[in-house]
């Protein structure tokens, strides 16, 4: 037989799933024309949060590294983007005129710090939204994974990083805008004219598809197999010749880069960034999206972020105690659906299942 091992095609994308993905994408393309302004901006935000969840799924769901620092990577990208938008305010719309952002004037700075000034230029800012969180994650990951810190200790380190950076950003008011963060930024422009909300939505939708596709492509390859093996028993795989630390540093850094990109897109939408997104509370939210959606499912965290965001939106309207509603929902999922919402769907609908082999029990087909 031409296909020596029947039915074992590593990266086949079943037609059924292709159809469902196509329909889902079509819905997301049509939705903005049905939505009002509020829903349009909410859905844009939830797509970014979902992308952030997917990035965490790569390190937690697949590789088994529970991180509360993904909010930090997101926010570092966000600040890079916020400096760009702030520095590109026209002199007229800047509170004090001139080039210097308002919060720097309040805090007595007279010139733009050298490390912030280059962010005025779009290509530099674009690279920074990815490179700053990625470099930060790489250095952090290098020390964590090369020193063989593992399990819960990594999680504790990520919590500490999140708290430390929150405090640091609040304390450096002259450079970061302190607790308020960076507000009153300019709109993101394309060819001299500001991008309308619907344009931003499609930009974010394209980014989400990119994150999902990239993550799927990576996890259906042998890399996905190796990451899952690290998750199940990282000691064993070293004796097969794999440098476990190298793989962890890679996926950790890549994941931070994706989180940073999401943060970079978040600021043009949200029009501000602040240390709130550095804090543990936001990092925990990312963990919750992955837990509720289903670890190692990729689509799950995206679905959970959208679903929880919408529930919160409606709960807020009905009751002041909307956090209680979210809390109860979380309890129900953790207690009764430990593998997340995706485990309720037929297996074929999960992107992650594609990276698992088709379990054939037909040796005849195999022997040919």
């Amino acid at each position: 037989m031409a296909n020596a091992v029947m039915g074992y095609k590593q990266s086949s994308f079943p037609t059924k799933l292709a159809a469902i993905s196509g329909i889902a994408l079509l819905i997301f393309i049509i939705l903005p024309f049905v939505f009002g302004d509020f829903q349009l901006s909410l859905m844009s935000k939830l797509l970014l949060f979902g992308s952030l969840g997917i990035s965490l799924d790569l390190v937690w769901g697949f590789t088994g590294i529970l991180s509360f620092a993904h909010g930090v990577f997101f926010t570092l990208g966000g600040y890079a983007s916020a400096y760009y938008l702030k520095l590109n305010l026209s002199a007229a719309s800047n509170t004090y005129g001139g080039e210097l952002p308002d919060f720097m004037v309040w805090n007595g700075l007279e010139t733009l710090p050298w490390f912030i000034a280059p962010l005025k230029y779009f290509p530099i800012a674009l690279v920074a939204t990815v490179a700053v969180p990625a470099l930060f994650a790489y250095i952090l990951g290098y020390f964590i994974f090369r020193s063989k810190v593992s399990g819960v200790y990594i999680t504790i380190i990520t919590l500490a990083i999140s708290s430390a950076l929150t405090t640091f950003f609040v304390s450096q008011q002259a450079y970061t805008g302190g607790t308020n963060g960076i507000t009153d930024v300019s709109k993101l422009s394309f060819l001299g004219s500001p991008i309308p909300p619907i344009g931003l939505y499609f930009l974010i939708l394209a980014f989400t598809v990119f994150v999902l596709a990239l993550s799927w492509w990576l996890t259906q390859s042998n890399l996905g197999l190796i990451l899952r093996s690290i998750n199940e028993n990282e000691k064993r795989i070293a004796f097969l010749g794999y440098d476990v630390a190298q793989f962890k540093i890679f996926i950790w850094t890549l994941s931070a880069a994706l989180a940073g990109m999401a943060g970079g897109l978040f600021v043009p939408l949200n029009q501000f960034i602040s240390p709130v997104y550095l804090a543990v509370a936001f990092g925990t939210q990312v963990v919750i999206w992955v837990a509720i959606g289903g670890r190692g499912t990729l689509v799950g965290p995206l679905l959970a972020a959208i679903l929880l965001g919408q529930v919160q939106n409606y709960a807020e309207k009905v009751t002041q105690d909307w956090q209680l509603v979210i809390g109860i929902l979380l309890l129900v999922v953790v207690l009764f659906i430990p593998n997340g919402l995706m485990s309720l769907l037929p297996k074929q609908l999960s992107l992650a299942n594609l990276s698992k082999p088709k379990l054939l029990k037909t040796p005849d087909a195999v022997k040919n």
Partner: protein, 266 residues
């Protein structure tokens, strides 16, 4: 048996290079000497069986070779190169494969994927992303699966297999690594008599193209496969030789073969 001994004698004369050479090895766990002054040579294509009472340091010796346990002093040479305390993945890539005492396999993956992971080749990140499942790879995987009798289970999850089959999956993984030296830690633990016998035959066939070091308790099994036996006791080499030599060694009889289980088989 004489033929085996004469082969061994030529090896001892130094006419053959040893593949693995352990010199005066000491491994210490917080003050406790797990291995003290162990020296051992493994030659091309031979089966070395290590026996010894519990706590004799058998697994520790294999751990030290693959750098799972740090070496305190002494040296391990592989093909003439000092590999003492190198990183586990480097040692694995050089050509030393290890099977652990309890089957150390990936339960949530299929048998096929377990072997795919172990397959000899590049272990880099980019290589793993772009790797294609070529015909050669499939062929190689099914080759080791047929050698270990697992072809029919190829696409089943390892978690659904019996204990004995899991042991074979791990042996198959070691084979897929295509190492020059295969280190097997109690490969027949938890196996039925039939499975044990089959494992013995698998090991014999492996030794045609690889050097094999086996840790074993079951004396029947040792007799089936053994060429040269090394007896470890309290972290030291107590005796070395053929099954008969070891069984008639007074020191061995005193500390190890004196046990009733061994008497029965002696």
């Amino acid at each position: 048996m004489e033929a085996v001994l004469s082969v061994r004698d030529t090896k001892m004369d130094g006419k053959m290079e040893s593949v693995l050479s352990i010199k005066d090895l000491n491994v210490v766990f917080s003050g406790f000497k797990a291995l003290s002054g162990v020296s051992l040579d493994v030659y091309d294509g031979e089966i070395v069986t290590i026996i010894g009472p519990n706590g004799a340091g058998k697994s520790t010796l294999l751990d030290a070779i693959v750098s799972k346990s740090p070496v305190f002093s002494g040296h391990i040479y592989y093909q003439g190169k000092d590999i003492t305390n190198n990183s586990p993945h480097d040692i694995a890539r050089m050509g030393i494969g290890r099977k652990f005492q309890n089957p150390n396999v990936y339960n949530e993956l299929s048998v096929f994927d377990n072997i795919l992971l172990a397959l000899k080749g590049t272990h880099g990140i980019w290589a793993s992303i772009t790797a294609k499942l070529t015909k050669e790879k499939k062929g190689k995987i099914f080759d080791v699966l047929s050698r270990t009798g697992l072809v029919d289970q190829a696409f089943e999850l390892v978690s659904s297999l019996s204990h004995g089959q899991k042991q074979w999956v791990e042996i198959a993984m070691v084979l897929a690594q295509d190492p020059s030296i295969v280190l097997l830690d109690e490969p027949t633990a938890g196996m039925t008599a039939d499975e044990t016998y089959m494992t013995g035959e698998i090991i014999k066939s492996i030794s045609k193209s690889h050097s094999v070091v086996v840790i074993e308790h079951d004396m029947e099994f040792v007799k089936q496969i053994a060429e040269r036996i090394v007896v470890l006791h309290q972290g030291q080499v107590l005796a070395e030789g053929s099954v008969e030599e070891v069984q008639s060694n007074p020191k061995v009889i005193e500390v190890y073969l004196g046990h009733e289980t061994i008497k029965a088989t002696a």
